[in-house]
Each structure stands twice: as C-alpha cells, then as structure tokens.
Symmetry: C2
Subunit: 110 residues, 2 copies
Amino acid sequence: MARTPTTFDAFNAVAEPRRRQILEALGRQELSVNEIVKKLGWTQPMVSKHLGVLKQVGLVKERRVGRQRLYQVNAERLKPIYEWVAPFERYWSESFDRLDRILEEMKKEK
Amino acid sequence: MARTPTTFDAFNAVAEPRRRQILEALGRQELSVNEIVKKLGWTQPMVSKHLGVLKQVGLVKERRVGRQRLYQVNAERLKPIYEWVAPFERYWSESFDRLDRILEEMKKEK
DNA sequence: TTGACATATTCCTATATAGGAATATAATAC
DNA sequence: GTATTATATTCCTATATAGGAATATGTCAA
C-alpha cells in the first residue's frame, strides 16, 4: 500500500511545506493566483497545482472574478489539526514549568 | 520530485493516521511494543515500523529494559505543528462569534 | 476574430512510501 | 548451548506524488 494521499485530509495536505506557505501567504486576504505567484516567487503551474490540492481538501475557497480566481483560506478545515495537537500542548508547557521551577531553585541556592 | 519524506518533520510523520493513533495510545504512559500491539490490534512489525518513523523524527523516545523497548511520547516535537496551526484558530472562533452574535439578535427579535 | 492575459491541465519521471510475509537480532531463562 | 520471548529488519509491490515543460482553457479588449 502507498502513502495516504495528499488529498485525503488536512493533515496530509498541510504536510507539504509549500502548501503551508500558501496558506500563510493568504492569511486573511483574498489573493489571485498571480498575486500568490509574485508573493512567493514560484512558477504559476506550481501554485495552481498546490491550490488544487488545498481546494480539494477544502482548505481554500475559490471565487471567480473575470479571468481571475481569488483564493481565500477556509480556516475551519484546520480545526481537526488544532484539536488533535492541542491536548499535547499541556505536556511541553508542564515540563517547561518544571524546568522553570528547577531554575528558580538554582538561583536561590546561589 | 517525490513527496516530502515521512521522516522529514513532525508534519509529515503525523500525516499518517496510524502514527497519530500510536501517539494517542501512548498519551502519558510509557508502553512496550507489545502493549501497543495489543492495544491497537495491529501486527507487531507494523507497530515497530511506525514507531521507527516516529523515533527518527523524535516524536517518541525509546528506553530499553531487558528485551523490551518502552516508548514514550516526546510532545515537544509537536510544538511546531501547534504553533503553526494555532494562529488560524482565531479565524474560525471569530466567525463563530459572529454567528453567535447573529443568533443573539434573532432571539431578541423574537 | 484576433490577440493578450489569467489560470488550469497534461505528460513525464524519480522517488518514497505502507503493508504483508518472512526472517533476523537480541535478551532472558533453563 | 537451546528454547523462548520481544522487537526490528528485509524483501516485495502497488501507488501517489512534486516539479518541470508544454499546452489547453477561459475571459476580456479592440
């Protein structure tokens, strides 16, 4: 069996660094393909293809205006990732607290 | 060019659903390979291979005790994912707020 | 209609899986 | 040493990319 397809879910779509860059570049703004091309300095087909994956997974929304296509982040589709990873956040922040406490002790001893 | 390797970073390692399951199964506990095998009901080689990827990326830590190998989540390696996705959380929670406000208005009108 | 602009799609290839089956390695007990 | 338990590794194959190059599609303007 092969790897889970990139279009399977947000996790797989976003594993590709370039697709994360596109989402970052979009941020809140709605951008045309060419604006993304200029902003990132990639080739146009490359941008279009990655947008295609993001669109299939629902991570971006497309709006057609004249000959342009304006893309926008659909952040809700990132929710599953956030919800999966958020519970782990306690682990490292807790261990940070522990380290913090240890460092405080060391200062006191000095 | 091919896809970003699974061992490239946490994003790619965690894109595979089964590897997320392993991390969830581990949670805070430290488990041996066989305990994970029993818990998830997979074959032993399958578990070992996925653990291998997780280990390469540093998402789990291995400790050898006798013939057993005890694995433990190394949550800090999930930090980059959390930090990347967290900023987007505002987007959907904001639109939820907006929806919330609209629903409030509708109630008042009744 | 013809051309210019904006974007998507097709064709190509090297590459890396994931899983199954079989086997290897390592540690312990007897 | 030998058997047994615990885990890792190897070999195999179908499959899905990502990127480059070339081309197709679609839309506006004159």
